[in-house]
């Protein structure tokens, strides 16, 4: 009976191959490495499952009970055997860990020349904004062969941006910025999903990544009604919300000048030194009281609730444009 069980399980596995997709498209620079590791682990799993099943079946048949009064010999625990089968899994684990960790480590940070695109998750859609100002919902157009960095956040609950064809995934968490990057290697249209349960419409948070040749991408950008760029929108907000009255460019205002600050270290009153990055600016806008800065009175009001995630990101884009160690690569 067990033999039948194993067979039917195996048959089920084999019968799916013709005509049924088993592997997702492989369309990013990361995907190949992940797939190799995945194949290795699959072979490892099948090998050990096969070995264990075979040994069990062999023993079951070879040592089946032939009479009720059979007296099997005493079990003798063999130390060398115990050590061997402790060491072998340990060794395999070390190898797999090293392999997977180096792969992960190499792909953890985006190349410095990555084009940044903003992704905001909200119940239940993906809101995407390009630096050039183009906005999309549940669609993401990217050029092939160019590293793309998605800076993500969420307006409500935790979402997760998952592109199976690129083998990448990262949570979009409210109140934080997370990022993932990829470089598409194939033109085409690929699914992306929300992979973190987020409520009733979770299964509807599906969209398409359109990977285009650079020429097509440029044409697409030119053909869309783009409105303001992120930086322009940020500048407008900077004036509209009166940020400009304190954060005067020459440093004479009630707040520090923001010119040339991005990417620089900033000391706080409690002695901590933080890098002025997206997370720093977000916190400074939404919870200014949590990070008083020496030599300036903590008079800035919070903009929590007054600005939505998109507007905060536009302001950050504007501050970035004021100089500093900005990673220079806006798709050109």
């Amino acid at each position: 009976m067990l033999i039948q069980g194993a067979k039917s399980g195996l048959l089920a596995a084999l019968q799916t191959s013709p005509g049924i997709p088993i592997f997702p498209p492989r369309a990013s620079t990361i995907a190949g490495g992940v797939d190799q590791l995945h194949y290795f682990l699959t072979v490892l799993t099948l090998f050990f499952t096969f070995v264990i099943f075979t040994i069990i079946f062999y023993f079951m048949i070879r040592y089946r009970r032939r009479s009720e009064d059979e007296q099997p010999p005493e079990t003798v625990t063999l130390m060398p055997l115990e050590i061997t089968w402790t060491l072998i899994p340990t060794l395999i684990c070390v190898v797999v860990f090293a392999w997977s960790a180096s792969l992960y480590f190499r792909n953890a940070n985006p190349p410095n020349a990555a084009t940044e695109i903003i992704v905001i998750g909200k119940q239940w859609m993906w809101h995407i904004q390009h630096q050039e100002g183009v906005r999309e919902i549940n669609e993401l157009h990217v050029p092939v062969g160019v590293p793309i960095k998605l800076t993500m956040t969420s307006q409500d609950v935790i979402h997760d941006f998952f592109i199976p064809a690129f083998r990448v995934k990262r949570d979009a968490t409210p109140g934080r910025y997370s990022s993932l990057w990829f470089q598409a290697t194939k033109t085409g249209t690929f699914h992306f999903f929300c992979a973190q349960y987020c409520g009733e419409g979770h299964a509807a948070m599906i969209g398409w990544v359109h990977v285009m040749t650079p020429d097509d991408y440029a044409a697409w950008l030119a053909g869309t009604n783009r409105g303001e760029t992120m930086t322009q929108a940020g500048e407008r907000l900077f004036h509209q919300y009166g940020c400009v009255t304190c954060h005067v460019a020459d440093g004479t205002g009630r707040g520090p000048s923001l010119v040339g600050q991005f990417g620089k270290p900033q000391k706080l009153r409690d002695g901590q030194s933080l890098t002025v990055d997206e997370a720093f600016l977000r916190r400074a806008i939404t919870q200014p009281n949590s990070m008083p800065i020496p030599n300036y009175a903590p008079v800035m009001p919070t903009f929590q609730g007054q600005l939505n995630e998109e507007q905060i990101l536009q302001l950050i884009a504007y501050v970035k444009s004021l100089g500093g160690e900005e990673r220079k690569a806006k798709g050109q």
């Binding site: 088993i22 040592y63 992960y104 968490t173």
Partner: protein
């Protein structure tokens, strides 16, 4: 020793089932065996409630657009399925039913150390289960069994409070049961029953109890904080007021990853008992199997971060949790190899419990190895949150823990009920469960790698074929679970009367009559040999081993 007693029909002999009658004699009992049966009845109910939800989900997923229910209802189905199965079936399954019944008998005691606390823990469990069932019938809950914030604290409009309270309350039941087992194993072992003469089931239960006692308070606190946040909006998890939604995941998984081992460790203990009995062999590498249980219990607390690799955790933290996660694989592998080696030169027979045990080894091997995909950072990023995860943990929890639970129920059924079950039906059921299980969950590995996220009420058409296969398998699996329910009930009345030791097994529980008397043993037992002394006479003595 009580062969004469055992052969008499059970009605003529006073044992724990007929010592007294009436509903009060059950609801106010402090007899660990009766409490075990109270648990058995309660968790069987919960299992079939949770199972019915799984069946509805699988029917729903036959059609990419959803065949049965509204997405909102689907979300409630998978949430309640998870809550029921994990908190109210799997966690109490082997410890509270088989553990309650067997721990005192295996240590040679009359009862657990704190019989009244034992009854209390059942009542607490019932209160928790009632609250959760109330939540289910009064609208259900849709947060996922993981209660991730800020969805559960701020956005969900369903019965989060009632469910959270139910889970919170049932946690105390788990803590008290664990406490009871730890004290019993430390303090009440029969003369001669040294630590290394204990059956491995006791080692497994001991390791499990430690996880229960040390881990459960943390999930209780995490769930308590959800309640606080929902009621008073204190801002622990809500980023809008300076909280950290990811902190909840840390607190939650600190318990909920070890909770997986609460489910599987006792199962491993059951397998050690069954394998040795039906191959009439002493366990291969007793010390390795015993210590691997303890190692798993400790390491399980250090690996929870692998549930959170895609939350934006730093590379450094991810590396630490990844390497620790790999460590758990080693003691698990040691167990599998030792069980397999135990069969060597044995005298193997294939009664139903043995079929479940062998099925367990195979499925656990697969479940454990697919865990490596998820401990590996690079592959986890792709597989996290997909059906691959669903398949992996069902291989461990259903293919592992439930198979072991069913194997254990069959193995000790003659002892518990005093009746034999029909072996042909039982073998048939074991085979159906094994086949149905693989057909249900193997396709889900492929779905996951293909990229289908879990918890999707509707899905793109490219995933349909594998979903239909999985649903078809589920119908077989469902049937497989119904059969034992029927024949075990049948056997209580019509089954042949069981002798004291139908499997010719070693272990103290087989030396007393079936079913055992209320005080477990007519004469307090003295242990003179080590566990699983199946070898030639005299070989089980100290010194004739390892």
């Amino acid at each position: 020793m009580s062969a004469a007693l055992a052969e008499a029909p059970p009605e003529t002999r006073v044992h724990y089932l007929n010592a007294n009658y009436g509903i009060k004699s059950w609801l106010l009992t402090t007899d660990h065996k009766r409490i075990a049966l109270l648990y058995l009845a309660s968790i069987t109910l919960m299992f079939f409630v949770g199972g019915a939800m799984a069946v509805m989900m699988r029917i729903h997923l036959i059609d990419p657009a959803g065949a049965l229910v509204h997405p909102d209802t689907y979300n409630k189905l998978f949430t309640m399925h998870g809550v029921m199965m994990i908190f109210f079936f799997l966690i109490p399954s082997i410890p509270a039913v088989l553990g309650n019944f067997l721990v005192p008998i295996m240590v040679g005691a009359k009862d657990l150390a704190f019989p009244r606390i034992n009854l209390l823990s059942w009542y607490i469990f019932i209160i928790g289960a009632s609250l959760t069932l109330y939540a289910m019938v009064s609208g259900g809950v849709d947060t996922g069994w993981t209660f991730y914030t800020p969805y559960s604290t701020t956005y969900a409009n369903s019965q989060v409070m009632a469910t959270a309270l139910g889970v919170f309350v049932s946690g105390f039941s788990s803590i008290l049961t664990g406490l009871n087992f730890i004290v019993t194993i430390h303090k009440m072992r029969a003369p001669g029953l040294t630590w290394f003469r204990m059956p491995l089931f006791l080692w497994a239960i001991y390791a499990t109890s430690i996880i229960q006692v040390l881990g459960t308070p943390v999930v209780a606190i995490a769930i308590f904080l959800i309640g606080l946040e929902r009621l008073f909006h204190v801002g622990i998890f809500d980023p809008a007021v300076g909280g950290d939604p990811i902190l909840f995941q840390h607190l939650f998984w600190f318990y909920s990853h070890p909770a997986v081992y609460i489910m599987i460790l006792p199962g491993m203990g059951v397998i050690s008992e069954i394998i040795t009995c039906f191959s009439r062999k002493k366990i291969f590498g007793y010390h390795f199997v015993a210590f691997s249980s303890m190692a798993i219990a400790v390491i399980s607390f250090l690996v929870w971060g692998h549930h959170m690799f895609v939350t934006g955790m730093s590379v450094y933290a991810a590396l630490i949790f990844s390497v620790l996660s790999f460590l758990v694989a080693i003691p698990s592998a040691i167990k599998v190899f030792n069980w397999t080696a135990t069969l060597y030169q044995g005298s193997i027979s294939y009664e139903a419990p043995m079929l479940y045990a062998l099925g367990f080894i195979g499925l656990f091997t697969m479940g454990g190895l697919t865990g490596l995909f998820l401990a590996s950072l690079a592959t986890d990023v792709h597989l996290n949150g997909t059906y691959f995860i669903v398949a992996h943990f069902h291989y461990i929890m259903v293919g592992g823990a439930v198979m072991a639970y069913l194997g254990g129920i069959h193995f000790w059924w003659p002892k518990i009920s005093g009746r034999m079950f029909p072996d042909t039906w039982a073998r048939l059921a074991a085979a159906i469960v094994f086949i149905g299980f693989n057909l249900t969950f193997f396709p889900q590995f492929m779905l996951g790698y293909l990229g289908m996220p879990r918890r999707y009420a509707t899905y793109p058409a490219e995933f349909q074929v594998l979903n239909v296969m999985s649903s078809a398998g589920a119908s077989i699996l469902g049937l497989g679970y119904m059969i034992p329910l029927i024949y075990l009930f049948w056997s209580i009345r019509y089954g042949p009367v069981a002798p004291a030791n139908p499997w010719r097994a070693k272990g103290l529980e087989w030396q007393t009559s079936s079913p055992p008397p209320t005080q477990n043993f007519e004469v307090p037992p003295v242990v003179t040999e080590e566990a699983y002394a199946y070898g030639p006479p005299g070989s089980g003595r100290e010194g004739a081993h390892d």
